[in-house]
Symmetry: C2
Subunit: 155 residues, 2 copies
């Protein structure tokens, strides 16, 4: 039989944005707004991207970095509380091979002037094709990009 | 706004069964076989149960304990490796209210005479309606019942 392994791991990322929770939620759930910070970036080609962030809805994207292999995510939104919470499951694929399955929770809390975001990912990395460290770093970059986008929108 | 909370937690359960991995896998993925140990039990009424344990397939069940409220699960199978591994996401509902979302991994390893099963659940308990301890105890009971069913099948 083929060697099969699973490495489980969890991490959290916290950010504070100078934007109301409703705008942060919109940037997480509106397909055109999310596409800008999530799917596009220097050197990246977006082959497909779709988002329906309602309970039971799906998100999918296929991306390439320069002339690298296709990187794909497939997401299902499980729990959605407007302006407050998203719980989703997602899988990542490289070149058609599933490298991970994750449960991800995004919690938004209004603060005096802005919003605190806590992202928690509980992941199963499959067959040694990805690591907790790499995943956390990738997510940190995404939330930094979201922060820049929110700053741009506020300006 | 309504008070919203998320408690994250993980646990693992390990069992050894005197049955080949192929039979354990069958008991996890065949609707009639799984229904017996998963959906039926003294005092429980099964209002609905369906299982399609292929990648992208769904499982759903609605159960009542005596005259209690409906308890429902909704599952999606994410990764399926015959006789070796299942990765799934699932939500639990009591009386229509979502109480948790989880990522669950089942790993099967053939041993000299039997199979080792490791179940790992990474859970998000929503709005204080369930706990890690209760969930782990419930899963331990289910895998004990699976063990009894495998013993019955071997006899």
């Amino acid at each position: 039989m083929t060697q099969r392994t699973v490495e489980h791991g969890n991490f959290s990322i916290e950010r504070r944005f100078d934007a109301p929770a409703s705008l942060v939620f919109q940037a997480l759930t509106d397909v055109e707004m999310k596409r800008r910070w999530f799917a596009e970036g220097d050197g990246w080609v977006t082959e497909s991207y779709a988002l329906d962030a309602r309970e039971g809805g799906h998100e999918e994207g296929t991306f390439r970095y320069q002339d690298g292999p296709p990187i794909r995510n497939e997401t299902t939104y499980l729990d959605v509380v407007d302006d407050r919470r998203l719980v989703l499951s997602y899988c990542m694929f490289i070149d058609g091979k599933r490298i991970s399955a994750s449960l991800a929770t995004i919690e938004l809390s209004p603060e005096a002037s802005g919003t605190r975001l806590i992202y928690t990912e509980q992941a199963a990395f499959l067959d040694g094709a990805d690591t907790l460290k790499t995943r956390k770093e990738g997510c940190e970059q995404l939330f930094d990009t979201l922060g820049s986008e929110l700053t741009r929108l506020a300006a």
